[in-house]
């Protein structure tokens, strides 16, 4: 009886789910911005800060990558207020996502920069460019395009982890779906819709990624 798919129910819950979708997308978008910035900070600290700072950063990055985002979110949301930092749920969620995925972004930045061949740095020096000129005109234009597919991959991964924010009371898609399921005792429709939504979004992103990869794979051939 529960297996019967009820279209009427689907239409009835759709507006509520769409409210959740909005929050999911907002959280992903803000989280991505925070991750991009924090990743840059991590990468710079790790690559060019004094040794003790670099090592501490490396440990912090390892620690964050080795522990579940869910637990980190609990920490930010429920423990930080003990020391006087009380963040609204969405802000806490965005910061959690941002820090967690920032550690991944940092690795991508580092790899991207290290992948620029040594010959390019040397050619820049042989043509007497200064360090800032080398970064701006030679290294970054070559380092960034190959990063884009990897960064987009993490963006998609982060998007799929937003349901975790329900643990800290953010009413995103998964939380809305659970709420609907709980008050109607029907899991199949809301959960399937959530699954379909994620699947559709990530299939679209996969196509977009392929396009990105094709677009940015062109800049090479030294």
């Amino acid at each position: 009886m529960i297996m019967e798919w009820d279209w009427e129910f689907v239409w009835q819950i759709m507006p509520t789910l769409i409210e959740g979708v909005k929050i999911t997308i907002l959280a992903t978008f803000l989280g991505a911005i925070v991750a991009a910035v924090i990743g840059l900070v991590f990468a710079i600290l790790r690559m060019s800060a004094p040794a003790p700072v670099a090592r501490t950063t490396a440990f912090a990055v390892e620690f964050i990558r080795g522990t579940p985002l869910l637990v980190q979110l609990y920490f930010i949301f429920y423990v930080l207020p003990d020391i006087g930092i009380r963040l609204p749920a969405l802000v806490a969620g965005v910061i959690g996502l941002g820090i967690h995925y920032g550690t991944y972004a940092a690795e991508v930045y580092r790899a991207g920069i290290e992948n620029v061949p040594r010959g390019q740095w040397e050619a820049a020096r042989a043509t007497n460019l200064t360090m800032p000129q080398t970064w701006v005109h030679v290294v970054l234009p070559q380092a960034i395009p190959p990063m884009i597919p990897a960064l987009s991959n993490y963006l998609i991964a982060m998007f799929k982890e937003t349901p975790l924010l329900s643990a800290i009371t953010v009413l995103e898609l998964m939380n809305q779906a659970k709420s609907i399921a709980n008050s109607n005792y029907r899991y199949i429709e809301p959960m399937t819709l959530v699954g379909v939504f994620f699947l559709v979004m990530s299939l679209i992103s996969v196509l977009f990624l392929r396009w990105l990869e094709a677009r940015y794979a062109r800049v090479d051939g030294r």
Partner: protein, 219 residues
């Protein structure tokens, strides 16, 4: 006075569930990663299509949804799994889909030149895969496999959703009983980190073993 030793015991029980999930999930992930990864490189269209569908589906839908399906929907088609089985299934298939891409990438990275040498030496496709390509591809996969195993470990935290008493779930229980948030969560953070660290240690050890004698430039 709070009986911390008892509660720590509870968390350790959860840690054991987490370890079991991680180990069994990784084992399943490894098997399906090779099956699907090599499947995607198959000569046969049908096998390729099947592997691709599996990979895109499990990478595309969120692990939460997969857990829910494994736990709440599968029983309706007559497959009733214990929570542990459902957790292992969902995590293993999810991470396996990512692993499949690693397998495919590593096998493809063993370039055309090595495959051509195999053809010139008249090895069969199976022999080439077994003796030449996989032994060289394996060291390339290991670092990413290590990362995947850690992702899986972290993924186990969400199984509390299907009533599995893993470490995070037990921390919640302890929190509900004692009213303390900091202590249980700090404890499990450290425990998770130790587990992740052990995984990377193990992986590095494995890497050293399989790359022994392979130092230096590729030929």
């Amino acid at each position: 006075m709070i009986d911390w030793s008892g509660y720590i015991g509870l968390i350790l029980e959860g840690a054991w569930v987490t370890v079991q999930l991680t180990l069994m999930g990784s084992a399943l992930a490894l098997v399906v990663a090779f099956a699907a990864g090599l499947g995607r490189l198959s000569r046969f269209m049908a096998v390729r299509a099947l592997a691709t569908t599996y990979i895109e589906f499990f990478r595309g839908t969120s692990i939460f949804v997969q857990l829910f399906w494994a736990y709440f929907v599968l029983p309706f088609v007559g497959i009733t799994l214990t929570p542990l089985q459902a957790g292992v299934l969902a995590l293993g298939l999810n991470v396996g889909a990512y692993g499949a891409e690693v397998v495919r990438g590593a096998v493809q990275a063993i370039g055309r030149e090595q495959r051509e040498a195999c053809i010139a030496l008249n090895l069969t496709r199976y022999q080439a895969m077994r003796h030449i390509v996989l032994p060289q591809a394996l060291p390339l996969m290991l670092p990413t496999f290590g990362n995947n195993a850690i992702e899986l470990l972290k993924g186990t935290a969400v199984v509390s959703l299907i009533s599995l008493t893993d470490m995070t779930f037990q921390a919640q229980v302890v929190r509900a009983q004692t009213g303390s948030t900091l202590i249980p969560f700090a404890t499990i953070l450290v425990l998770y980190f130790i587990m992740a660290w052990l995984i990377s240690l193990g992986m590095r050890w494995l890497e050293r073993r399989v790359t022994r004698g392979l130092e230096g430039v590729r030929v």
